[in-house]
């Protein structure tokens, strides 16, 4: 009951945003559908008449359908940038197959005797198409448009990834922030839209046969009206920021930028998978990245200094089960070999090798240890097993490979890796439940995601890296019997980033500089 109420409150409170997202959603969907019908219908008719083109055209549309939506959006960015255009293009490509295929099938399935009769009594092929084949195929064609509509309403949520808006903003923001109300505020209207449009089209479909000529008039009008909801935003020369859905909703993210820096910048919501590329392609000017991300180096970006300290420190350190340290005390000194050895720029470089140059994490780890003179040959010891876990991104893969080599080179223990554990929650639960013995964790995550202390406590701690570390170390030991070993050195925190050249040209080094610049604009 309480849950429902608060969802309703959330939706009321965010009603402006919700309306705007819904309208954008509907607009994107129907603009794409309109284009898909305008192109798919004639194409379907054409291949029904020229049989030899049917297989290649349907095959091509089928291949388009199998491209994962995020990947398709990724392909489209270099060509079309970010925003409505690539989103509509992607939706259009997905809507194409059901429309072409159903038009083709619908026409092909018209009773051959009827078509033969039409021909035999003297109708021209144009008359046969318009008066016999199309009206009789219409229920099947409409079923295709219905399918395309439902697919499009669903896929349109992904438009939020490339700054085209829509209900995906709430959905992905909610997922990132683990905010159920926010997810539902996006997901429920999206589902309702799909159900509503499906229902309306089913009514049109049932009218069929007798009133088919009316459908032919009504449907395009509905589509044009619905798609006109969406007006392309006017181009603007001011700086444009792209923030991830998670960043948008966080106190130590966009909300903090507004309240602490009073930063007022034109912004769009975008997926972090695409954000760096869009920044590099100059589709965006400022993005919310992670300070040790390899793409920082690959794309020539710089981080802006957080001069008012709104981003909490995310220093990485091995988080270990206390029991394993008691059983194998030699582990402490071995794991701490790495303490202070990797600063931000080294970590960025290592991430760059893995994320961008596609080097194997094992090789990157080995090269690093060799450079630092820390590498020792494995002893192939059989005294025990240490289980190492990692989250599902490059940096963690590199770190646990380094730890594995250190453990096997400096002790008689064998290290076993369990990589690719979905996220913080999964790693942490695995550790608490004795499924793994250690994994690299970040102090900020320990504080904000796992401990979740009162706001005041967070505010008090957040500016100082050492106090955060000391706080999580003590609390984890007390509450979970887990030990934070010494920090590795780098701070993988949120950071605002710009292209080097532009930042230099505008003389922006800190977030305050950025605020002053945008105020002047």
């Amino acid at each position: 009951m309480e849950e429902q109420q608060s969802l309703w409150q959330f939706m009321e409170q965010q009603s402006d945003k919700l309306w705007q997202q819904t309208i954008t959603h509907v607009g994107l969907t129907f603009t794409a559908l309109l284009i898909a019908v305008l192109i798919g219908l004639p194409l379907g008719i054409a291949i029904a008449r020229k049989q030899k083109f049917a297989a290649p055209v349907l095959g091509f549309a089928g291949v388009l359908q199998t491209i994962p939506s995020i990947a398709l959006l990724g392909f489209l960015i270099p060509l079309l940038g970010i925003g409505a255009l690539p989103a509509i293009t992607a939706l259009f490509l997905y809507a194409l197959l059901p429309i072409i295929r159903n038009t083709y099938t619908g026409i092909k399935e018209v009773d051959a005797a009827v078509v033969d009769a039409a021909k035999g009594i003297g109708m021209t092929s144009g008359q046969i198409l318009l008066k016999v084949q199309m009206p009789l195929a219409m229920p099947v064609i409409l079923a295709g448009i219905r399918t395309a509509t439902v697919i499009s309403v669903g896929v349109a949520t992904l438009a939020a990834y490339i700054a085209a808006g829509g209900l995906g903003e709430f959905i992905f923001g909610g997922i990132a922030l683990n905010n159920t109300n926010m997810i539902l505020a996006g997901a429920i209207p999206a589902a309702l839209l799909a159900i509503l449009f499906d229902f309306l089209l089913s009514l049109v479909q049932r009218m069929q046969l007798r009133k088919m000529h009316r459908v032919v008039v009504i449907l395009p009008i509905i589509f044009i009206v619905l798609s006109s909801f969406y007006v392309f935003s006017a181009t603007d020369k001011s700086l444009l920021a792209g923030f991830t859905p998670e960043f948008m909703g966080r106190e130590d993210g966009y909300l903090g930028l507004k309240s602490k820096y009073h930063l007022n910048i034109r912004n769009v919501v975008i997926s972090d998978a695409i954000m760096y590329k869009a920044e590099f392609e100059k589709k965006l000017d400022v993005i919310s990245g992670y300070s040790t991300d390899g793409r920082l180096k690959a794309y020539g970006l710089v981080t802006l200094k957080d001069d008012k300290a709104i981003f909490p420190p995310y220093y990485a350190a091995p988080l270990v089960r206390k029991e394993i340290l008691e059983r194998y005390p030699e582990l402490v000194s071995v794991l701490n070999l790495l303490a202070g050895k990797i600063n931000d720029s080294i970590m960025t470089e290592l991430n760059y090798r893995v994320d961008y140059l596609k080097q194997l994490p094992e090789k990157t780890a080995l090269d690093f240890l060799l450079e630092k003179g820390l590498y020792k040959k494995p002893r192939n010891g059989q005294e025990g097993i240490v289980r190492l876990g990692s989250k599902i991104f490059g940096e963690q893969y590199i770190l646990i490979n380094i730890y594995k080599m250190l453990i096997e080179g400096y002790t008689n223990l064998r290290a076993e890796t369990k990589t690719g554990l979905g996220g913080t929650k999964i790693c942490f639960d695995a550790l608490v439940n004795d499924q793994i013995d250690l994994y690299p964790e970040y102090t900020g995550t320990g504080l904000l995601v796992i401990l979740q202390p009162a706001k005041q406590k967070v505010a008090e701690l957040i500016g100082n890296r050492d106090s955060v570390y000391q706080y999580v170390k003590k609390e984890f030991a007390d509450k979970y019997n887990l030990t934070w070993l010494l920090p590795i050195g780098f701070n993988n925190a949120y950071a605002l980033m710009m292209r080097k050249g532009q930042a230099h040209q505008l003389n922006i080094k800190t977030i305050s500089d950025l605020k002053r610049y945008t105020d002047r604009e």
Partner: protein
């Protein structure tokens, strides 16, 4: 008058129709008979250019059919096909009105013509005009299909297995109706069927086809009594007795029958077949008489007379 000369249709290497020639006089009904794959339907479809021949030519009233666009040709020829090919999204009236509409008849004229045809085919217009084909019975659909072909009163009708989709009983009834329909009496009809009885009942002339070739083109009695080759003979073997008795009318043997006075009570007419006469004789204990309108003469009918008439037909060279 339809004149078909050396018509051949090849599909890649297979010959569908080979060197077929025939002519059909005005008002005649010609039946193309054969099993499936015999080339009869292909021959029919070449007449309204649904299939274009590989070689050979077709003249209708002395005019080569290639001299006008196929659509224009087809609008001037009635076409009835096996599944009837009614448009499921058109009402009965709309279905019948298709060709008049294509020919841009005025609305009122179309409406009148549709009602007229519905009356003739015993589908009361107020009841059937606005009904969709899906709700009609097989026989009714067949009649609507026929009405559509007759809408513009074309002199020629092409019929591809027009009764093929009907059940046995309905088929017999509809065929009888069809034979008696005034609207069809003056038409030149080319009808394709695989049904031997249908061919004998409706055809003035029957062209028996096999493997794309015309095996024999003749009147029904000729096919039975003077088969051109073994195939023709074998084709009718199973139905021979029945067909023989059905293919000859009393009129054909009139002079071989014993004459009686005109005051007798006649239960048969001279136009009836020997088969019907035999049924009448079998069902009557008393003497059976037949009457001929034309000569105003009467004849006595007995089994013996019928039997010897058949024998005589067979012995004719």
């Amino acid at each position: 008058m339809i004149e078909v000369q050396q018509l051949t249709k090849m599909y890649q290497d297979t010959v569908a129709v080979s060197n077929v020639s025939f002519s059909v006089k005005e008002g005649q009904t010609m039946v193309l008979l054969g099993t499936s794959g015999s080339g009869k339907t292909t021959t029919l479809r070449m007449l309204n250019r649904l299939t274009e021949p590989t070689s050979g030519s077709i003249f209708i009233d002395g005019k080569n059919i290639l001299s006008q666009p196929p659509e224009v040709l087809r609008r001037s020829i009635g076409y009835v096909l096996q599944g009837y090919g009614l448009f499921p999204h058109y009402t009965v009236a709309q279905n019948i009105a298709i060709v008049p509409k294509l020919l841009k008849w005025p609305k009122e004229k179309i409406r009148k013509r549709v009602d007229e045809l519905l009356y003739k085919l015993q589908l009361p217009p107020h009841e059937y005009r606005h009904v969709y084909p899906a709700t009609l019975s097989g026989g009714q659909k067949q009649r609507v299909g026929l009405a559509r072909a007759l809408a513009t009163d074309p002199p020629i009708l092409l019929m591809d297995e027009p009764f093929g989709a009907l059940d046995m009983l309905t088929k017999l009834a509809v065929r009888k109706e069809f034979k008696e329909l005034d609207a069809l009496k003056k038409k030149t009809i080319i009808l394709v069927t695989h049904d031997v009885h249908e061919a004998f009942e409706l055809g003035d002339k029957i062209g028996l086809m096999d493997k794309g070739k015309m095996q024999q083109l003749a009147s029904p009695p000729e096919l039975l009594f003077r088969p051109a080759n073994n195939f023709v003979q074998a084709f009718f073997k199973h139905h021979l007795f029945e067909l023989e008795w059905q293919s000859i009318s009393l009129k054909n043997i009139w002079n071989d029958l014993p004459e009686v006075g005109t005051e007798m009570y006649a239960t048969l007419s001279s136009s009836q077949t020997l088969w019907e006469a035999m049924e009448e004789v079998a069902n009557n204990n008393t003497a059976v008489y037949a009457f001929d309108e034309e000569t105003k003469s009467g004849r006595n009918i007995t089994f013996e007379h019928l039997k010897s008439a058949i024998q005589k037909q067979k012995q004719q060279p």
